[in-house]
């Protein structure tokens, strides 16, 4: 419960938010360059795949039609340029469209975004005492950060303690899990909220949402590959009674071929996603320490932030989430929503606690 801290309170947060926003924009530019390189890698890989495959087809064709021992190397220069162009344009277009579409979805306002992940809004004056306390805590932290109150949402389906903040169409919002609402003490909830507000103030919330959009573009390639792999099931599904006529057998054969092609596409897509996640992980880890420190500065209570981290550490599930957003919104969460050994979005809990223990 209460602990009197006799040492001087920590220095106030760097209140020059303009500098913070400028720095955030510079970081965003650097990250964008890295992401663009990932996209380039994927496009080049796809081009190589398409070109090689086309060359193989041509060579095979030539061999079959009486010009034996034609090597791929002979065929390559004869390939029409259009193949390369089509492959590059197609891949780039797919990535761009998927990315833009996701960004549009994310910019429709906090209510829409929250609903899309299944979070429920918390009323201004809730009946439920736990929610009222949450509301009060959010207003307190909004005061401490010198800003306006946020919209608050609860993820009822999540029993782990976690949360994140973001802004959509200039509407800042905060999401906490049901687990957090039910189990956290007042000061721990304050720490969680302060962390989210800190992310908003430091420009990280905005950047993280941008990353979600960019990553969606690169993920699209892998998704297309996966669909290609699954194409036989689409063919088989449309028909229903088990009888496979000759035409459908033909289409089935074609779809198996598509599956084969799709494996490579999915592999390229997956590697692209790994690269992009690597870039994302690099970006987010340091910012977590900063957000922790900002939370301490707003609450003036390092003990609360530490207690919150310790409590999550002590639970077996940690902050692990169930919903599909746990991967996409990974860096935005207070603690990782997915247990993983590499490409971590956050520093280990132990390290974060240790940093807060320093005087």
């Amino acid at each position: 419960m209460a602990e009197t801290v006799d040492a001087a309170p920590p220095a106030p947060p760097s209140p020059d938010f303009f500098a913070a926003q400028d720095a955030a924009r510079a970081r965003a530019r650097r990250l964008f360059v890295l992401f663009a390189l990932c996209v380039l890698a994927v496009v080049v890989a796809m081009d190589a795949y398409v070109v090689l495959f086309s060359a193989m087809m041509f060579a095979h064709d030539a061999n079959v039609h009486g010009a034996p021992n034609v090597l791929i190397g002979d065929v390559l220069p004869q390939l029409p340029r259009e193949v390369l162009l089509a492959s590059t344009a197609g891949t780039a277009a797919l990535i761009l469209v998927a990315s833009i579409q996701r960004r549009r979805e994310l910019a429709r306002g906090s209510e829409t975004l929250a609903q899309s992940i299944g979070a429920r809004a918390v009323a201004e004056k809730p009946e439920n005492p736990a929610e009222r306390q949450l509301r009060n805590v959010v207003e307190e932290m909004a005061l401490a950060s010198g800003g306006l109150p946020l919209a608050v949402y609860v993820l009822d389906g999540e029993s782990a303690i976690n949360g994140f903040a973001g802004a959509s169409a200039r509407e800042p919002f905060l999401v906490v899990t049901r687990g957090a609402l039910d189990r956290l003490q007042r000061d721990e909830m304050q720490a969680l909220v302060a962390y989210g507000i800190g992310q908003l103030r430091n420009g990280d919330a905005k950047l993280n949402l941008q990353l979600v959009g960019w990553l969606a573009g690169i993920t699209a390639i892998g998704d297309v590959g996966k669909r290609m792999i699954k194409s036989p099931s689409y063919v088989l599904r449309g028909g229903g009674d088990g009888e496979v006529g000759d035409l459908r057998k033909g289409i089935l054969g074609l779809s198996l071929f598509v599956t084969f092609l799709g494996m490579f596409v999915a592999a390229i897509g997956y590697i692209g996603v790994l690269l992009a996640r690597f870039v994302r992980a690099l970006a987010s880890r340091q910012r977590v320490y900063l957000a922790d420190a900002t939370a301490v500065q707003y609450t003036r209570d390092p003990v609360a932030v530490r207690d919150l981290l310790r409590r999550i550490e002590s639970e077996v599930q940690g902050g692990t989430l169930v919903g599909p957003y746990k991967e996409e919104f990974g860096p935005m969460l207070f603690v990782p929503g997915v247990k993983r050994l590499c490409l971590r979005t956050h520093p280990k809990l132990r390290q974060r606690i240790a940093r807060l223990e320093k005087p």
């Binding site: 419960m1 209460a2 801290v5 005492p129 207003e139 003490q185 209570d301």
Partner: protein, 199 residues
Amino acid sequence: MAQLTWIGILIVAGIALVGWAIGGYNAFVRLRNRFQNAFSQIDVQLKRRFDLIPNLVEATKAYLTHERETLTAVISARAAAVGASERLAANPGGSAELKTLAAEDATLTGALRRLLAVVESYPNLKADQTVASLTEELTATENKVSFARQAYNDAVLTYNTKVQQFPDNILASIFRFDAAPSFATESAEERKAVRVSFG
């Protein structure tokens, strides 16, 4: 030719100086607006708290017949704080009035803390729904007052640092931007108030 170069240098230097002055002035205004806004927030929260206290006193009076002094302390501290707040409203920016308000605020916070601790120690009082929700509201309001104060002090600190540091202090004295008073209280008890969680 050399004369033209000198004139050129002077003009560039002049423009740079004016640019610095404009930037500095805007920064002072921006930072001053920020702490003035923060101050009005404190006012809002103080009023909320003043309004909430009579309800809490009413709800707990029946149970706390043996704790008359605690309740009386709260009521009188509130009256004093309201008075100090009104005096400050009549003379905005007055540092003496601000100091008085800060002191009365500290007294009131102390009295409220004692009342909340008493409520905590009477189980049937704690269990009462009305009291429970009022206690949460009061804790929240105490915290809000404290955080509003904190935000104000932070904003004042930034402003004062800008106004007092060289070379901006030259600009500040030209444009007549003075250091602002902080809503500080030396009482350690005050600082404790925020950390106690009754949840």
